[in-house]
């Protein structure tokens, strides 16, 4: 109450910065688990690694409520159109993390069955290496994405 005579505490910023900050702070991922990486993605979301620290624990089952698609695992030719449809259903602004070697490049499976890199279907913002990437790697990928968003490098 002694503060009443003091000048009001103000925080000034630009609208763009405020928007980017809020986008970064609550980026909800879509549950798009495909293969081995999905298990590590689940492990990242649970208590031991606790993705909630980055405001991301709310994995949304509906793409319409999600901002981020973590493509976790190998994308087969049969799954590719489904993946694209889920991406199209997501509302803007949206981001994509390609998790693991298979999603990024096809990994060790250079054959008839797999899409050789999910960036052939959807635009990818961050690639996370590993087979499968551990929870720490995924979290590093997520933090990289958040940095890119807040710095305006990935303006949507």
């Amino acid at each position: 109450m002694a503060q009443l005579t003091a000048p009001p505490q103000l925080l000034t910023t630009t609208l763009g910065k405020a928007i980017r900050w809020s986008q970064q702070q609550s980026m909800w991922p879509a549950t798009f688990g495909l293969a081995c990486c999905a298990i590590e993605m689940m492990a990242t979301g649970t208590a031991h690694n606790d993705l909630a620290r980055f405001g991301m624990e709310v994995f949304r089952a509906s793409p319409r409520q999600a901002d981020l698609m973590v493509v976790a695992g190998r994308v087969s030719q049969k799954m590719a159109p489904v993946l694209r449809q889920v991406y199209d259903q997501m509302a803007d602004p949206k981001w994509v993390i390609s998790m693991g070697a298979c999603a990024s490049t096809g990994g060790m499976f250079n054959n008839y069955a797999l899409v050789q890199g999910v960036d052939q279907i959807v635009p990818v913002d961050v690639y996370v290496p590993g087979c499968p990437p551990g929870p720490q790697s995924l979290m590093h990928g997520i933090l990289t994405l958040q940095d890119k968003v807040v710095s305006g490098e990935l303006a949507r």
Binding site: A35, H48, V82
Partner: protein, 452 residues
């Protein structure tokens, strides 16, 4: 209206005039949705052999077609354990028919296996059932060794049992965790993954990776156990039974859990045998069938353990069987720790195993030998074999054909999840829509294992 394949165009004998299949080939690629349509000309019981759903459906013809609805579930769905897709035919709230559609994770692994040497093959098979990678490696290695006819040192065998039984515990932890999450017991998800991290930390220390280890290789294992492994395993043996008491408090007598699982997704022993269902699902139906007892591998017959069975074959019994199996696996691990033999961790047969590092510095021949094994791979005598082991999901088999070269001519995996998935339409006969996820979760299918 597209032409349906008829009996005459269905099978084409080469040498005769090829039928015009262009029209129904297009229909045939439409993911099977058209097969769900009613076809009055076909005897209904032929469509889905052995399914009680069909029989009931034939008797009850009073329901108007307008009251039936076909709902698509998946392949992108949080409760289908990956990319399983189901066509579910509903009559109000009752599931009448279910048609699982697979192939959304087809990775061409059996074909890839033909391009990799026997030594490299482990990297491939370990990615099939990614919740039980060590079992896949063990099965592949046992098949290769059977063709090679090499002796595996006792320590390597004991390490294999230790690692696969730990893997069984971690796999069942995920199964129980996801089963809980699907039915709404969200804390089970957190608990299950908490203890899994403990086992995975030990795996990372031993093999270098949390999953997809390529640790068990033809001829033995990739490396000896790390220093201080006894303490790590002792911690696992101490903490997991304590944690499992938490699970029992949470679920065992929980009225909501009982309501959602008791009497749900029942499958009888006869139906299991007819469909080739193995693993916890078969044992929950009351059949004490465990390959560790009936066809022991890797020296597991030396350890004492019981086969856990259920009696009713419902979702609750399958959950109980998994909990019981975790206790039995820990029992095996305890005995392995107590009786771990000393000696080599891989075979000393120089046809399979490269010379030790020290020899390479001393001898040119040893260097060449080492180089040849890691480039060409070792030669495996021509022949074919089938080896099966008890994976967490059931009988995991590896059929291997060698033509005498360094890579397999053909590799086929008998995937437990694939066979178990066939039982889904039977389990879900006349059940409620809400029980669908309970049934899927209790089967614990891994789509990487189904589609390969």
């Amino acid at each position: 209206m597209m032409a349906e394949p008829t009996a005459t165009t269905d099978i084409w004998v080469s040498g005769t005039e090829a039928p015009d299949v262009s029209e129904w080939m297009v229909a045939g690629t439409d993911e099977g949705a058209q097969e769900m349509e009613r076809d009055e000309t076909v005897e209904r019981s032929v469509e889905q052999r052995g399914s009680r759903v069909v029989d009931d459906w034939v008797v009850d013809d009073s329901v108007d077609d307008d009251e039936r609805m076909i709902v698509n579930m998946g392949p992108q769905h949080p409760s289908t354990h990956g990319v399983l897709r189901l066509n579910i035919e509903l009559e109000g709230e009752i599931v009448r028919r279910v048609k699982p559609i697979i192939g959304y994770l087809h990775t061409g692994m059996e074909k890839t296996a033909e391009t990799l040497t026997f030594l490299q093959g482990g990297t491939n098979v370990t990615r099939m059932d990614y919740l039980a990678p060590l079992h896949n490696e063990l099965c592949y290695s046992l098949a290769t060794e059977k063709l090679l006819g090499v002796e595996i040192p006792p320590r390597a065998q004991a390490i294999r049992i230790l690692m696969t039984e730990l893997n069984r515990v971690s796999s069942h932890l995920v199964a129980t965790a996801t089963n809980g999450m699907d039915i709404g017991a969200l804390s089970m998800m957190m608990y299950g993954f908490r203890e899994r991290e403990l086992i995975l930390a030990f795996f990372e220390k031993t093999t270098g990776l949390r999953m997809n280890h390529n640790y068990i290789r033809p001829g033995g294992v990739a490396a000896d156990l790390p220093d201080g492994w006894e303490e790590d395993v002792a911690e696992i043996l101490e903490r997991i039974p304590l944690a499992m008491r938490d699970y029992e408090d949470l679920l065992k007598e929980n009225p909501i859990w009982l309501g959602r699982t008791r009497g749900v997704g029942i499958i009888t022993a006869d139906e299991c045998l007819a469909y080739g269902v193995t693993g916890p699902t078969l044992r929950a139906a009351g059949v004490p069938w465990d390959l560790r007892k009936s066809q022991p591998y890797s020296g597991i017959e030396a350890y004492e353990f019981d086969v856990v069975t259920g009696s009713r074959g419902d979702v609750y019994d399958r959950y109980r069987v998994r909990i019981g199996e975790m206790h039995q696996s820990l029992r095996i691990i305890e005995q392995v720790v107590d009786t771990m033999p000393r000696g080599d961790y891989k075979t000393t047969d120089r046809k399979v195993s490269p010379p030790p590092r020290q020899r390479i510095d001393e001898s040119m021949e040893a260097l060449i030998h080492h180089f040849k094994i890691y480039t060409e791979g070792f030669k495996v005598p021509a022949g074919e074999t089938y080896v099966a082991i008890e994976a967490p999901r059931g009988e995991l088999g590896c059929y291997l054909v060698s033509d005498g070269s360094g890579a397999p001519l053909r590799m086929h995996t008998r995937a437990p999840s694939f066979s178990n998935l066939q039982a889904l339409p039977i389990m879900m006969a006349d059940s409620l829509v809400a029980d669908t996820v309970a049934c899927i979760a209790s089967l614990d299918p891994v789509m990487g294992d189904v589609d390969r």
